[in-house]
């Protein structure tokens, strides 16, 4: 399995703004960290409009998993934002349904059909109310990285030592 990158620089606490502002902030940060190309920013924002990624969960915390085409990505990475106030995202696969998203997992992936383990772990994570709430209640970026590192198969995660 390819390595998936996450460190504290990719974590946003108390993120605020419109949907597009937050997506832009996360994406531009991935550019700054040299994990994606500059085209990723427009790519992920436009993709969200055409193929929304909001996911209602069994808990009160909805999530979104924005991502875009592989050609915009330099290195597999995941960026996480905990939103100060929920922000409306359209629900994946629905024409008009919206969900109030509290946590965003922005995925940068450079290969098709890969990262099955990571993705399955992520979906398991989303289906567990307790861990999802624990993530949302994280007080520091370090806590976020530690929790995600423990739950997801991020073999290259270097929580905090960069």
């Amino acid at each position: 399995m390819a390595d998936f990158y996450l460190d504290e620089n990719l974590v946003f606490l108390q993120a605020a703004g419109t949907r597009e502002e937050i997506l832009r902030e996360m994406a531009e940060n991935l550019v700054k960290e040299e994990l994606v190309k500059t085209s990723f920013v427009t790519g992920v924002i436009e993709r969200e409009k055409e193929y929304p990624t909001g996911l209602p969960t069994s808990s009160s915390l909805s999530v979104a998993i924005p991502h875009t085409d592989i050609e915009h990505v330099k290195k597999d990475a995941i960026s996480i934002a905990l939103l100060k106030e929920p922000v409306a995202f359209r629900v994946m696969g629905e024409a008009s349904m919206e969900t109030s998203v509290s946590i965003i997992f922005m995925l940068a992936m450079q290969q098709s059909h890969a990262q099955l383990t990571l993705l399955r772990d992520l979906m398991d994570f989303l289906q567990n109310e307790t861990t999802l709430q624990a993530l949302y209640d994280s007080k520091t970026k370090e806590d976020v990285v530690k929790l995600i590192d423990r739950k997801l198969s991020l073999s290259a995660s270097k929580g905090g030592d960069r």
């Binding site: 993709r47 055409e50 193929y51 990624t53 996911l55 209602p56 969960t57 069994s58 998993i65 991502h67 875009t68 085409d69 592989i70 629900v91 994946m92 696969g93 629905e94 024409a95 995925l107 992936m109 290969q111 098709s112 059909h113 890969a114 990262q115 099955l116 993705l119 399955r120 979906m123 989303l126 289906q127």
Partner: protein, 94 residues
Amino acid sequence: MAKKQVLVACGAGIATSTVVNSAIEEMAKENKIDVNLIQIKIAEVNTYVDTADLLVTTAMVKTAYPFPVINARSFLTGIGLEETKEEILKELKK
């Protein structure tokens, strides 16, 4: 019974379809059904319009196709998963 061609599609063809694809693969194996799974972007469905038996997708479908379309979001959220699995199995067993 002829081997069914099942399209598994999402917007980018990289993330959610990967999860759904592997879930259907397992499901087919458990039920001893031989399927031909093809993981694609939703925009590529047209290429398979004459050969596919079923489309399972997390993306919204705006076009009418000659085969059934099943929404696969439950594979990601876990909400309504058993119903979706049953729906898919029913199509695979046809």
